[in-house]
Every structure is written in structure tokens, then in C-alpha cells.
């Protein structure tokens, strides 16, 4: 839909031959660098991966400013605490964490100067992919190749009843790596029912595709939703904003706990 508006404006612009885009120097305020916490907990395999960095000025270089001297602590439901060790390049990682559905996890990140940030979220329920269908469509939606054949994938699974569930579908191919689009949905109106969602992309015959069904905690679901909306900012979109972090004290980023289930399919030759 957004594209259509841009076309519209373009047509008008071409029509009057006067529309133009040019760079301008704006006197933008430079905010104090803020801590950005990218914390992913995979409750299915027990991995904790955190990337710490700092925001920088709009007109500064695009290089990432990593934070290597912070400390990160986890507080488990039983009250015990664990440190997530620094492994280099702004990364703090550990394995072997055991969390089950409904468990709360508290993460505290403390900077070298002493300022600390806390987030708390709940472990989602694991959803298992029932099946993934490969469907061939001739010139249907979503394909890049207008004339050729397209393969669409449909993922099926059963929603856990009597609780809100939040999902994200991703896929991995050897050629393209892991998909980065925010394919997010919840179970509103489908509580406890069978869910199915299409995956729009163009796949090659013979390609191996790993489809990942991620169950998310509600906070990171909201975060990714907002992030995808900020990302697609353009003409005619809402007032820009910062995705709401679940960390306190003005940190950016998120703490996410997910459960993961995968199925691999091979696109027919």
C-alpha cells in the first residue's frame, strides 16, 4: 500500500517536472549515547546471547560502538543468580539455562560506571510445527519472478489453549541465511485452534528450507512489532517513535525469551 502512494507522488512529480529530492543539513540535537541491549534467551536450547552497544549521533559514522566492560546477571525463578560471561566483541553468552513455560527471568545489565538496567519477562509455551506444505503457484502473490513458477510454504501448528500466544515465523536457506523479516502474529480469535500461515518468499527448486516457528514472550512480540513498523517508516507513515524497551532506566533494546521448533522441507525439483 505504501508503495502505491510513493508511485502516486512520483507520477505527480513527473507530471509537473518539479518534484525533487535533495540532501539537507539539519541542526539535529545530539542525544547522550544510550546503552543498547540486544538480549536473546532461547528456552528450548538453553542459550543466552547478549550484544551490548551504545547509540551514537545521527551524523556520526555508522560503525557500531560495542560495550565490552559491562556485567550481566540473570535471576532465575528460584531466586538463584547466574552471570553471563563476556566473550568478546560486545558479546556476552552462556549455555545450559533451563527454563520452562511460565518461568520468569530477570536480567540486570550493569555498566562499568555503575548504572544498571533491569528487565523481566516470562517464558512462552513451546509450539510444535505440525507440518509444512510446499505449494506451487503459477504467477501468484509474493513471487519475484512474475512469469515463472513460485513456491509458497504453509506452516501448520496447534495453538496452546487458554492463554495468549505470540509467534514469529522465520526460515533459513543456505543461500540467503536466516530471514530477517518480522513475520509476526498472535492467536487472537484462534485460541487452541489449528493455526496456519503462509511464508512469502521465492524459493529455488531443490533448495532445503528450515522453517522455524518461534514462540515469543509478549514484551518482545510488541518490541519486534514496533521495530518492524519503525523500520518501514516512509512517506505517509505514523509519527516516528522508539520501540518500547522492557529494560528500565532508559536503555534501548529488549530482553526476549523464545521457544523454537523447526522443520526442514525440500522444494521439489
Amino acid at each position: 500500500m505504501k508503495l502505491s502512494y510513493i508511485n502516486y507522488i512520483l507520477i505527480l512529480g513527473v507530471l509537473f517536472l518539479t518534484a525533487c529530492r535533495e540532501d539537507i543539513e539539519l541542526d539535529l540535537k545530539n542525544d547522550e549515547p544510550k546503552l543498547v541491549i540486544d538480549a536473546n534467551v532461547n528456552a528450548t536450547n538453553g542459550r543466552v546471547e547478549v550484544l551490548l552497544s551504545k547509540s551514537n549521533g545521527f551524523y556520526e559514522s555508522v560503525d557500531i560502538h560495542l560495550v565490552n566492560d559491562a556485567s550481566i546477571t540473570l535471576e532465575l525463578p528460584d531466586g538463584s543468580t547466574l552471570d553471563v560471561p563476556f566473550v568478546g566483541q560486545g558479546k556476552y553468552e552462556m549455555s545450559g539455562l533451563t527454563l520452562s513455560s511460565g518461568d520468569e527471568l530477570l536480567m540486570t545489565v550493569t555498566e562499568n560506571e555503575g548504572k544498571s538496567y533491569t528487565a523481566k519477562t516470562t517464558t512462552p509455551a513451546l509450539a510444535t510445527l505440525d507440518s509444512v506444505y510446499v505449494s506451487l503457484s503459477t504467477g501468484g502473490f509474493g513471487g519475484d519472478d512474475e512469469d515463472g513458477d513460485n513456491y509458497q510454504l504453509f506452516a501448520y501448528w496447534y495453538d496452546t489453549a487458554d492463554q495468549p500466544n505470540y509467534y514469529r515465523l522465520r526460515f533459513f536457506t543456505a543461500d540467503e541465511g536466516i530471514s530477517d523479516s518480522y513475520n509476526l502474529f498472535n492467536d487472537e480469535g484462534f485460541d487452541g485452534d489449528e493455526m496456519f500461515r503462509p511464508i512469502f518468499s521465492s524459493f529455488n527448486p531443490g533448495e532445503e528450507v528450515e522453517v522455524m516457528l518461534l514462540s515469543l514472550d509478549p514484551q518482545s512480540f510488541d518490541y519486534f512489532n514496533e521495530l518492524s513498523s519503525v523500520e518501514s517508516q516512509g512517506f505517509n507513515s505514523s509519527t516516528p517513535f522508539n520501540p518500547k524497551s522492557n529494560f528500565d532506566n532508559g536503555a534501548l533494546g529488549y530482553l526476549s525469551i523464545l521457544q523454537q521448533n523447526s522443520k526442514t522441507v525440500i522444494i521439489p525439483e
Binding site: 500500500m1 502505491s4 502512494y5 502516486y8 507522488i9 507520477i11 505527480l12 513527473v14 507530471l15 509537473f16 518539479t18 518534484a19 525533487c20 529530492r21 535533495e22 540532501d23 539537507i24 539539519l26 539535529l28 540535537k29 545530539n30 542525544d31 549515547p33 544510550k34 540486544d38 552497544s53 551504545k54 547509540s55 551514537n56 549521533g57 545521527f58 555508522v62 503459477t138 504467477g139 501468484g140 502473490f141 495468549p164 530477517d180 487472537e188 480469535g189 509478549p218 514484551q219 512480540f221 512489532n225 514496533e226 521495530l227 513498523s229 519503525v230 523500520e231 512517506f235 505517509n236 507513515s237 505514523s238 509519527t239 516516528p240 517513535f241 522508539n242 520501540p243 518500547k244 534501548l252
Partner: protein, 773 residues
């Protein structure tokens, strides 16, 4: 409520006391002699008593005076004043027709005797646009547009570059009620807002209430724009039209039966796509991009006391390529019946239908994707005018509107013809009702009042499932109401009062207080106004918007009324304002209510207006200094922030100079503070993406906007049969690159983030040929 009505009548009675003399009524219609068009708001002055009245929206007037002989003066701007001596010894009907001062197409004549009307009337914060004068103001691509000319007046500002949308006194765009022959127009723009839906050839009179709304109007909190279409020539067949760079217009009008009934048909179509074709690349082959408007009005006198009017409007924008289509538009139909019970009591009964809808269709391979939405209104109202005595004119009436809002609904058809319908958002149905009473009272020779009350009701009607939402927008409760069930009702009482106190013959002080309720809210992600903007009704969850406005004004005319000057101060308080929470969107959102936040607003300002009415040089200067702010608990940490349309300074300078009787030059210059917007204050990486870090809501400013336009109108040929003129205009003479939008992105070449602005219209010359016959 009853208490108010009682005191109203008490006031009335008091002013009637001591008038035991025998009295008679003089009434009738005022018309334009050349076309038979009724004259609205025309002046009727009883010279002996120095008092008078004005005609109503149907050209009717009524005066009740003690028995005697009177000199009655009839006047209207641009027409020759007439005086009649009336021996009033019985009730009399006297209709008058005023002749034109000159037949000159481009002449701005102001010959009205009541030149001090702007000083003496009880209207505060009201602007009337003279359509003749508006024709001379240079505009984008030569397309005359009353909404754009309105933006050059104090307190009214444009929503975007070249846009026909407007903001009144810091209010939002959806807080303006635009009525075309009493039918609400829900989306008044064509071509993404660059043109309004109003073809000026079909229009007779435009009045904008920025405040001080009479009690007969309601439904929006910031302004009411009352647009009346021409009735059509009652005397002879004729027409007018124009050929421009991007659009052509043609209007034909004439009597159905001389002095009994008439009809007018007016059409307009753009051909932007045809002209653009050579410049477009292959991607746009077969592209369609045009709009058209059709206005029709007919009226017929059924007798001395009855007259019916039928008017309609149909307009549509079409945009598409071979496999993609998008169209939208409004339709309105109004049926009116004027009835005169007696020479003191006038009734107008109106039936109205109005809708706005859009549709979107993509074809890909054998499948299609369709999306559509719309709002439909069925409306009935009655307005009574009772000319009780020369000092009191009472209006009262009622209105009922049935709203049906069909939210966006999509259908996918695959290549086998199988259909999938998206989870439709629920249809909303509601009944909006109102009753009002008001009195226009002349207390003494210095003080005039106009006060009244309007009672508004709004009821939601099933079938509907009402939801409440908890944290993370999780549905907490669901209540289902049956079809036809009235499940939620709001009642609001809106007092209205205006007062005018004459300081001298040429100066006055005016004050007004008014309250307005608004039950429909526009959800829009942008400021520019788009075809997919989405209306929702008030509900248990979405409270009605309320505005309280206080305005004070000083009006003064100088140099034998050559100059009009006014200054007005206003303060407007807004409650239950609706906005999206961060990231909320209306498009195909099933739980749109859960994405809304509610807050307050305030707007205040000072408006200056200086106008020169007479001489070879005419024009005006308008300057507004104002502030408009909003406060939402969930936005900006609950702190007040500037509304996007908060333009601190807004200046417009318009001049017209008559070089020779056939040649007129005109110029307009506008300057305003850039919109309040949110800009990045930094950037960061999260989840592998480089994201902008944004500062506080609307804490930054777009660059200031300014622009000069020039125009020239040359009358080609003048005779009684056929007149024509050429209008040249140059938009944005010094080619100012005003920013339409600013975007922030990474420059891949330098690996730096940068800001770039999009400017839409550079210098644009145009020429239009207008004719009438």
C-alpha cells in the same frame, strides 16, 4: 435544559414588553436580477429605525414593524442597492431583485450600503469568502479552489504543500465539518489533497465558522464550513466553463420554467494522466490518474409558500495501472422543502444522503486482491426560523443522522476463483440526534446577542461485539449486542453565545463562547490526508470529543469603510482527543480501538486581519500567532507537546491591482512556521538493524515555509452573449524548495546517515481560459 429554554423565552418576553402598538409583517425573498439566484445573508435595512435583518440561507427575510410608512433599503455585496417606500398597514410580501453593478467578469465591486456589516453583526470568528474575489487569487495550476483561498485567512492554515486540507485554530483536520448543501463531505480532497472536491463554478456561497457557531450547527469541534451550491439561472439559459492545463470545467444552467424553477449541471475532469503520458517510463504504461466531479441542482416553486430543491454531488478519483486499481470518492444527495407557514415562520425540511468510500484492487496472475471501506450517512433535519419581532429572530430545529461505517475488508480470489475474505473489522452503526433553539436578539442600538442551546445525542446500535483490552492489548471482555439494540448513548449539552457591542458606527467589540461535541473520529497516520483515512464512531471505549472555545474580537473600519480591520483572541480547550499509540495503524487492523490513546488539547492565539475593499488596489493581510498542544498519558511521558499543525506564525498577504478595466494583476505571499515533527537524535543497532533514535514527540521543526504566487487576468472579449478571460498564474515564483517531507537514511557511498528533503512543487506556470455565455 428546560431552565435554559425558560430563561430564553423570558428574555424574549421582556424585549417584547411595551410594544402594544398594532404591528404588521413585511416579508419576501431577495434575488439576483440577472440570474434569479436567491441572495443569502443579504441586508434589509429599515432606514427610519436604523435597524434591519438579513436574509436566511434560502434568501428569505421577514420584518415585523409597527404600522407606518418606511423606507426599506435592500443591499448585497456587488449588486446595486435598492430603496423602496412601503406603506405598512397590512402584512405585506415584497420580494426584490437586485441588478449587477457591472457585467464585468473580473470586477470586484463593493457597492453594498451596509459596509459596516462586519462590525455590526453578531458573527464572531466567522469568515465569508466572496467567490468573485477568490477567482483572482493565483493558485496552483490555475485550478480555483475555495479551500485554498480560505487558507489565506487568519486562523485557517493549509495541511501541506499545495494541499486543500486545512486546520482551523490549531484543530485537527477531522474536526472540520464541511457541508455541501447541508450534506457532510467526509473527504474533501482529490489527487492526494492537491485539489478540493469543490468545483467553484457550481458554488454560490461559502461561510466558515472558526468559532461562535450558531446552535443550528454541530458535530465537529473545530469548525463548520457551510458551502451552498448555485440554484441555477431562473431567467435564461447560459453557461460557464474553463479550459486549464490539467482540468476542464463546464457548467450549464437555466430555467425549468421562467421564475418558477431552474436547474444547474456542472462538471469537471482532470486529464493529468493524458498529459503526463509522454513523460512516464514503461512502468507506468497504461497508468490512469484522474478525477471528476459532477454537481447537479434543481429547484421548483410549488406555489407562493412552497419550494423544493434537489441537489447532488458525485466525485471520484481513479488511479491505476493495468493490474492495479485504486479509486475513491464522495456522493451526496440533498432534498429540501422550504415552507412558509406565514410571513413570520419559515421552515426548511431536509433529507440527506452522503457517503465516502474507497476500493483497492490488485490483479496478479489469475488472482485478485480487493480491499474496500466506506462511511454512509442518512440524515433528516428540520430548521425553523421565526421572525418574532424586529428585535428577535428565533431559530429552532432538530436533526437525526444514521451513520453506517464499513471498515476495511479484504477479499482474495485465487486463480481458481476461490474466495478468501479477511477477518472483517466490525461494521459500526449509530444514531446521532440533536435539537436546538437559538435567538438572535437586538437588545438596544449598541448591543446585539445571539444565544442558544444545542442538545446532542449519540447512540451506538448493534449488532456489535464490544471489547475491552488489558495489558498488551489482550482482549479482556467481550459483550455482544443484538441487531438493532441501542447499547450505548452519549448526551451532551452545547451552549452557544455571541455578543456584539458597538463602540461607534464603525467599531465594535465582540465576544463568543461555544461548546461543540464530536462523535466521529478520523484515524489517520499522516497529516496530508489520504484516501484510506478511516472514520470510527464514538463507543463505550472511545469518548466523544468536546471543545470549549472562548473568543474576543475588536472590529474597526477605517476611511469610509475602505479598510476593514479586526483582531481576535481565542482559547480553545479540547477533551477526549484521539490518536494512535506509537506504531498503531488503521489499515486492516481488527482491534483498532486497542491501538488508540486518548488525551487533551489546547490551542490559543491572536489573529490580525486588515483588508482593503475599495479602489484599484484591493487585498488583505492576515497574520496569526498561535500555539496548539496535546497531552496524552502514553506519549512523551505524559508531557504536553506541540501538535503537528502548531504553526506559531502564519502570515498571508494577498493583493489585487486593476491595471486597466480589462487587466488585473494579483499576488499572494504566504509564510508559516514549519510543522512540529519528530527527528532523530542519534542511531543504534538492534536485532541486526540500524535504527534511528528519535527525540521527543514533535519537538523539532520542519524548515519554515514561504512562497510567492503571481497571477494576471485579462478579459478578452466582452459582450452580452459571450465573455471570456485568460488567467495566467505562476506558482512559487522564486522556486523555493519547501520541504514536503524529510527522510533519514544511510548513504551507501559514504557510509553516513543523512537527511534529505522531498520538495514537490517548484515554479509552475499555468494558463486557464474561462468563459461564460
Amino acid at each position: 435544559m428546560l431552565k435554559y429554554i425558560y430563561s430564553l423565552f423570558l428574555l424574549l418576553m421582556l424585549s417584547n414588553m411595551g410594544l402594544a402598538q398594532e404591528k404588521f409583517t413585511l416579508s419576501g425573498y431577495m434575488r439576483d436580477a440577472s440570474t434569479g439566484e436567491e441572495l443569502l445573508y443579504a441586508n434589509v435595512l429599515v432606514k427610519e429605525v436604523g435597524q434591519g435583518t438579513t436574509t436566511n440561507l434560502y434568501g428569505f427575510y421577514s420584518l415585523t414593524l409597527p404600522k407606518g410608512t418606511y423606507t426599506i433599503q435592500y443591499s448585497y455585496i456587488g449588486l446595486t442597492t435598492q430603496e423602496l417606500t412601503i406603506v405598512l398597514d397590512e402584512d405585506k410580501t415584497q420580494s426584490v431583485e437586485l441588478g449587477a453593478g457591472a457585467t464585468d467578469l473580473v470586477e470586484v465591486v463593493v457597492t453594498a450600503e451596509n459596509e459596516t456589516d462586519n462590525v455590526t453583526n453578531t458573527e464572531v470568528s466567522t469568515v465569508t469568502l466572496d467567490t468573485k474575489e477568490a477567482k483572482l487569487v493565483p493558485v496552483l495550476m490555475g485550478e480555483q479552489d475555495i479551500l485554498k483561498t480560505m487558507q489565506l485567512l487568519p486562523g485557517v492554515s493549509s495541511n501541506s504543500e499545495g494541499g486543500s486540507g486545512f486546520f482551523v485554530r490549531g484543530g485537527n483536520a477531522d474536526q472540520n465539518l464541511i457541508l455541501l448543501d447541508e450534506a457532510p463531505v467526509y473527504n474533501a480532497s482529490h489527487l492526494l489533497g492537491f485539489f478540493s472536491v469543490f468545483n467553484s463554478d457550481a458554488l454560490k456561497d461559502v461561510k466558515l465558522y472558526k468559532g461562535g457557531m450558531p446552535a443550528e450547527y454541530g458535530g465537529r469541534v473545530s469548525s463548520i464550513m457551510d458551502i451552498r451550491m448555485k440554484n441555477g439561472n431562473m431567467k435564461e439559459w447560459g453557461g460557464s466553463g474553463g479550459i486549464g492545463l490539467i482540468a476542464s470545467r463546464l457548467t450549464v444552467e437555466g430555467p425549468l420554467k421562467k421564475d418558477q424553477g431552474s436547474i444547474i449541471v456542472s462538471g469537471r475532469r482532470t486529464y493529468a494522466d493524458i498529459i503526463a503520458r509522454p513523460f512516464l517510463n514503461d512502468e507506468f504504461e497504461g497508468a490512469k490518474l484522474y478525477f471528476y466531479d459532477l454537481n447537479l441542482k434543481a429547484n421548483y416553486k410549488l406555489g407562493e409558500k412552497d419550494r423544493i430543491y434537489l441537489s447532488g454531488y458525485l466525485g471520484r478519483d481513479v488511479f491505476g495501472t493495468d493490474d492495479f486499481g485504486f479509486d475513491w470518492g464522495n456522493q451526496t444527495a440533498t432534498l429540501r422543502w422550504n415552507h412558509l407557514f406565514n410571513d413570520q415562520l419559515f421552515l426548511n425540511t431536509t433529507l440527506i444522503y452522503s457517503d465516502y468510500d474507497y476500493g483497492f484492487k490488485v490483479e496478479d496472475g489469475g488472482g485478485t486482491f480487493e480491499l474496500g471501506a466506506g462511511i454512509y450517512d442518512y440524515n433528516i433535519k428540520q430548521d425553523y426560523n421565526w421572525y418574532a419581532n424586529p428585535n428577535n429572530t428565533i431559530s429552532f430545529g432538530w436533526q437525526g443522522i444514521y451513520h453506517r461505517i464499513k471498515p476495511s475488508e479484504f477479499t482474495i480470489t485465487d486463480e481458481e476463483g476461490e474466495e478468501f475474505t479477511g477477518d472483517p473489522t466490525q461494521e459500526q452503526k449509530a444514531l446521532e440526534g440533536s435539537i436546538y433553539i437559538a435567538n438572535q436578539q437586538k437588545v438596544n442600538s449598541k448591543l446585539s446577542l445571539n444565544y442558544g442551546l444545542r442538545l446532542n445525542t449519540f447512540s451506538n446500535i448493534g449488532e456489535y461485539t464490544e471489547k475491552t483490552y488489558g495489558d498488551n492489548d489482550v482482549i479482556e471482555t467481550e459483550t455482544t449486542y443484538d441487531k438493532g439494540e441501542f447499547y450505548n448513548t452519549y448526551i451532551g449539552l452545547a451552549p452557544r453565545a455571541n455578543a456584539t457591542y458597538l463602540l461607534s458606527d464603525v467599531s465594535s467589540l465582540k465576544a463568543s463562547f461555544n461548546r461543540n461535541y464530536q462523535f466521529l473520529h478520523l484515524l489517520s497516520n499522516s497529516n496530508a490526508g489520504t484516501p484510506t483515512d478511516y472514520w470510527i464512531a464514538s463507543s463505550p471505549f472511545v469518548k466523544p470529543q468536546i471543545a470549549n472555545q472562548l473568543a474576543l474580537g475588536y472590529f474597526h473600519n477605517f476611511k469610509n469603510n475602505t479598510y476593514e480591520f479586526s483582531v481576535e483572541a481565542y482559547y480553545k480547550q479540547l477533551e477526549n482527543q484521539v490518536d494512535f499509540e506509537d506504531g498503531g495503524s488503521a489499515i486492516n487492523n481488527r482491534e483498532v480501538e486497542s491501538d488508540l490513546v486518548f488525551g487533551d488539547g489546547r490551542a490559543y492565539g491572536l489573529e490580525f486581519y486588515l483588508k482593503k475593499n475599495k479602489g484599484r488596489f484591493t487585498g488583505w493581510l492576515s497574520y496569526t500567532i498561535s500555539k496548539s498542544e496535546r497531552q496524552f498519558d502514553d506519549i512523551n511521558n505524559g508531557n504536553w507537546f506541540s501538535a503537528r499543525q502548531d504553526r506559531i506564525h502564519d502570515l498571508a498577504l494577498v493583493g489585487m491591482y486593476k491595471i486597466t478595466p480589462r487587466l488585473t494583476a494579483s499576488a499572494s505571499f504566504v509564510y508559516y512556521t514549519g510543522d512540529a515533527v519528530t527527528f532523530p537524535v542519534g542511531k543504534y543497532y538492534v536485532d541486526g538493524q540500524l535504527i534511528n533514535l528519535y527525540g521527543e514527540r514533535n519537538a523539532e521543526r520542519m524548515p519554515d515555509y514561504h512562497r510567492l504566487d503571481l497571477g494576471m487576468t485579462y478579459v478578452l472579449k466582452e459582450n452580452s452573449k459571450f465573455n471570456s478571460d485568460l488567467t495566467f498564474s505562476v506558482y512559487n515564483v522564486y522556486n523555493r524548495k519547501n520541504a514536503y517531507s524529510i527522510s533519514f537514511e544511510t548513504d551507501d557511498a559514504t557510509n553516513q546517515t543523512k537527511a534529505s528533503k522531498l520538495s514537490l512543487f517548484g515554479i509552475i506556470p499555468s494558463v486557464t481560459w474561462n468563459f461564460n455565455f
